[in-house]
């Protein structure tokens, strides 16, 4: 008997299989990432709060009976009587707004995993990169700088300021009548000490631009909101601080608050060049490219008034590309037609000009990856 009986205290399989299970959860979430990042519950959840996500691939499928078709036998302490309601059917777990295939109604309880916004970010951001990051003169990602600038009466002996200590000793004895070095007293000692220098940080600025003309419907608003949300979260993770400037336009462009940016909708025509020109002037006045990593991104459905303005826009973009790290254009449209703006833009061939088209929720994830490609260069 004895030889093959395991040593119970060496049991570790539970922990290692638990890790494997966790790894499978991560894999499954990664596979579902495209859906997860368009999940309203996730982006509206405040950090740290977990939400439940059904993970289908971790379900252990069996031949089993339909869970609620037949009755069951229960037991209590005698409280209930026939007719009493003792519970509600579990609300069908469903992955957000993605319609499940027809014929899936029976599977009520998929294995659910609790995730937080941070979990999703970790997964998403490990798929994204920050290409064309430029070293800015005053350190793009600075450490706080420590400077010895102050003197204190207490401190570490290693930081002893000998000259000042000698002077204090001399002064004390001089006051007492003898102007020479004498016996030492702890009060004589002076130490050099540091203060944390607040270094002016020039990091990154996102210039978010959005077409608020009548042609931008709810779907378009939501997609631009989601895209901007993940973009800002991502950049905030990469940089110590990220400035965001919100510009909206119809025939004229103006700067607005974040709230207005996502909510405004106005009727009227569209003149795209107006916003790109405003963008240029914002950069020129507040965000010199020598100091900032600049990420302009424009959301539009691609409608523009005139070809002349399209050309003007292209010229503006050419100028922007000199200053910005990446210039992004996200065309959000529901139909399959191609826009005049897009056909103009497609003529711009530049590695740092990134054009994505979003026609459905599924496109968001590839769009983010196109905008922030993970390359060797990007790391």
């Amino acid at each position: 008997m004895a030889p093959s009986v395991p040593d119970w205290s060496l049991q570790q399989k539970g922990a290692s299989d638990q890790r494997r299970h966790q790894a499978k959860i991560r894999e499954a979430l990664r596979d579902q990432l495209g859906e997860l990042i368009t999940e309203d519950a996730i982006i509206t959840s405040e950090g740290g709060r977990a939400i439940k996500i059904p993970v289908r691939s971790l379900e252990q499928f069996k031949f089993r009976f339909h869970p609620w078709e037949s009755d069951r036998v229960g037991q209590d302490q005698g409280q209930v009587k026939p007719g009493d309601i003792i519970g509600r059917l579990p609300v069908k777990a469903k992955s957000g707004s993605k319609g499940d295939q027809a014929g899936e109604e029976a599977g009520t309880d998929y294995y659910e995993v609790e995730v937080t916004l941070e979990d999703i970010e970790d997964l998403l951001f490990s798929e994204l990169g920050l290409p064309y990051l430029r070293q800015k003169p005053k350190a793009a990602l600075p450490e706080p700088r420590l400077e010895f600038k102050d003197v204190a009466r207490r401190g570490l002996m290693g930081n002893l300021d000998k000259r000042r200590s000698l002077r204090a000793n001399l002064l004390r004895h001089a006051k007492a009548g003898r102007a020479e070095l004498g016996p030492w007293h702890p009060d004589d000692l002076r130490f050099r000490t540091w203060i944390q220098e607040e270094v002016e940080e020039h990091n990154a600025v996102v210039i978010a631009m959005r077409d608020i003309s009548g042609s931008m419907g709810d779907f378009k608003k939501q997609m631009s909101r989601l895209f901007a949300f993940w973009m800002m979260r991502f950049l905030r993770r990469q940089y110590r601080s990220v400035d965001v400037v919100f510009l909206v336009h119809h025939t004229q462009a103006r700067e607005v608050s974040e709230q207005d940016f996502f909510q405004l909708g106005e009727s009227g025509g569209t003149k795209v060049s107006s916003v790109y020109e405003l963008c240029e002037s914002v950069i020129a006045s507040r965000y010199p490219s020598a100091l900032w990593n600049i990420y302009p991104i424009h959301f539009s459905d691609g409608d523009n008034w005139s070809d002349a303005d399209n050309r003007r826009t292209v010229e503006s973009i050419q100028r922007l590309l000199i200053q910005a790290n990446v210039v992004g254009y996200a065309e959000i449209r529901e139909g399959g037609y191609s826009s005049t703006l897009m056909s103009q833009f497609s003529k711009i061939v530049h590695p740092r000009f990134c054009v994505v088209t979003i026609t459905g929720r599924d496109d968001l994830y590839p769009a983010l990856k196109a905008f922030f490609p993970r390359t060797e260069q990007g790391k």
Binding site: W8, K13, G14, H21, V73, G74, V80, G87
Partner: protein, 445 residues
């Protein structure tokens, strides 16, 4: 525990007391283990078992519940000879005394109940060898490959031949024969590879068959010999667990009956006795409208003993399983006393439907039949004369969960290597599901 001035009786004293009442015991090895180890054994159901993520999932669940103070496990008994009983290190001495009494009840049940007759007496060895071979295969063929194979085999693990037809209540002659080979030495070294090389049987006489995994091991087109070995390991382990699934109520009831009996006869202080009574009551109480098998089982055994005498009770623990136990011995009085009821869906609500004892009994029998697992037979292993597998669901009033069935059928396809069909009934209409690759088709017949 075997210190000199122990206020509590040790294993030997309790074992002798149990034997004096007629319990048939084999040697029991008691081991004190920390919670992490006990919960690990509970997740794997037996120590030393192969690695698989699903056990890790279960382990995490149990451990989490323990850490949050929900659902504490006091012990786990492994049906081997000698038997192993793992007790939680943090149990009090009083708790452990009760647990020891309880354990002897289980050990007697394992030794005497007929459904355990074919059980291998050294299953820890068997599963440890399985675990070694799985590890070896992981090394040779890659962890992901082995894992995917286990996923598929485990999806249908219940569909093994767990018992011969229950004709006379006699010990199963057929199972004994099947086991003849197994019992002679190392069952896990059965020449699975040799079996695997057998060609697909076209003999109609083999069908219908109930042992889906066995048919796959012997006749699948899609498996190498090592893969057949893995599937037969899953099969063998499940055959070990089936008797426990079939006797959950009886087994726990019997162990509870004996911890109550033996504790009454042990010399305990008054305060200990009050603590014990509280503990024991908690063990048999229902939670969340779930039937408590401990409470139900012990109540039925007590009733048999009261009405027909102790001999009859001992006889029942030998020749019944949960289905016959409930069918033969559940009475109106017990259903009323234990507040059993039938509940179910009424639109979006869960509603108490009846407390009528016959309705309760019949519903319970339905839940217990075949361990609550749909009965599925292999009707043909060469369907269409193209080597396709034809499964039949024996519909007994409740439909299958179709999305689950579809996903499971994909696993069967992976094991079989040729199209797989499942004949079932859904919403009153007969239909055949077919899995081929990742595609599922539904045809109404």
């Amino acid at each position: 525990m075997n210190t000199v001035t122990s206020a509590y009786p040790d294993d030997r004293v309790i074992a002798e007391l149990a034997q004096s009442h007629g319990l048939k015991l084999c040697p029991v090895i008691f081991e004190m283990v920390p919670a992490s180890v006990l919960y690990e054994f509970a997740a794997y159901l037996i120590p030393g078992r192969m690695a698989h993520w699903s056990f890790g999932k279960q382990y995490q669940l149990l451990k989490l519940r323990y850490d949050y103070g929900l659902g504490k496990l006091y012990e786990m008994v492994v049906n081997t000879n000698p038997a192993y009983a793992f007790l939680l290190e943090s149990n009090s001495s009083l708790e452990n005394t009760m647990v020891r009494c309880h354990v002897f009840g289980h050990v007697d049940f394992f030794q005497t109940n007929y459904v355990f007759e074919p059980t291998h007496c050294n299953m820890i060895d068997v599963v440890s060898h399985h675990a070694d071979r799985i590890r070896q295969y992981e090394f040779q063929y890659g962890r992901v490959v082995v894992e995917a194979l286990l996923d598929s085999a485990m999806a249908i693990e219940e569909h093994v031949d767990w018992a011969p037809p229950d004709l006379s209540g006699l010990p199963p002659a057929r199972a004994a024969n099947d086991r003849g080979e197994a019992d002679a030495g190392y069952p896990d070294l059965k020449p699975a590879a040799a079996k695997g090389s057998a060609h697909r049987s076209t003999r109609a006489s083999e069908y219908p068959a109930w042992d889906l995994l066995d048919i796959i091991v012997r006749h699948s087109d899609g498996l190498d010999s090592w893969q057949r070995d893995v599937v037969s390991m899953v099969r063998e382990e499940m055959q070990y667990f089936w008797p426990q699934i079939r006797t959950k109520i009886m087994n726990e009831g019997w162990a509870t009956y004996w911890h109550i009996r033996l504790m009454q006869e042990l010399d305990l202080s008054d305060s200990d006795y009050v603590d014990y009574a509280r503990l024991s009551a908690a063990v048999t109480a229902p939670h969340d409208f779930q039937i408590n098998p401990y409470g139900l089982g012990v109540r039925v055994f007590e009733d048999i003993s009261r009405r027909f005498g102790e001999r009859e009770m001992f006889f029942c623990r030998e020749v019944e399983d949960d289905v016959s136990f409930v069918r033969n011995h559940l009475t109106q009085e017990i259903v009323d006393d234990l507040h059993l009821f039938v509940f179910g869906r009424d639109q979006q609500n869960v509603v108490v439907k009846s407390k009528d004892w016959k309705i309760v009994r019949d519903q319970l029998l339905h839940e217990l039949t075949h361990g609550g697992v749909p009965v599925i037979s292999v009707e043909d292993g060469d369907f269409h004369h193209r080597g396709e597998l034809y499964l039949l669901h024996h519909h007994d009033g409740v439909d299958l969960d179709l999305p689950y069935a579809e996903q499971t059928l994909k696993h069967v396809f992976k094991l079989w290597g040729r199209p797989v069909h499942l004949d079932t009934v859904s919403s009153g209409r007969r239909m055949v599901l077919t899995a081929e690759g990742d595609t599922i088709t539904q045809v109404l017949v």
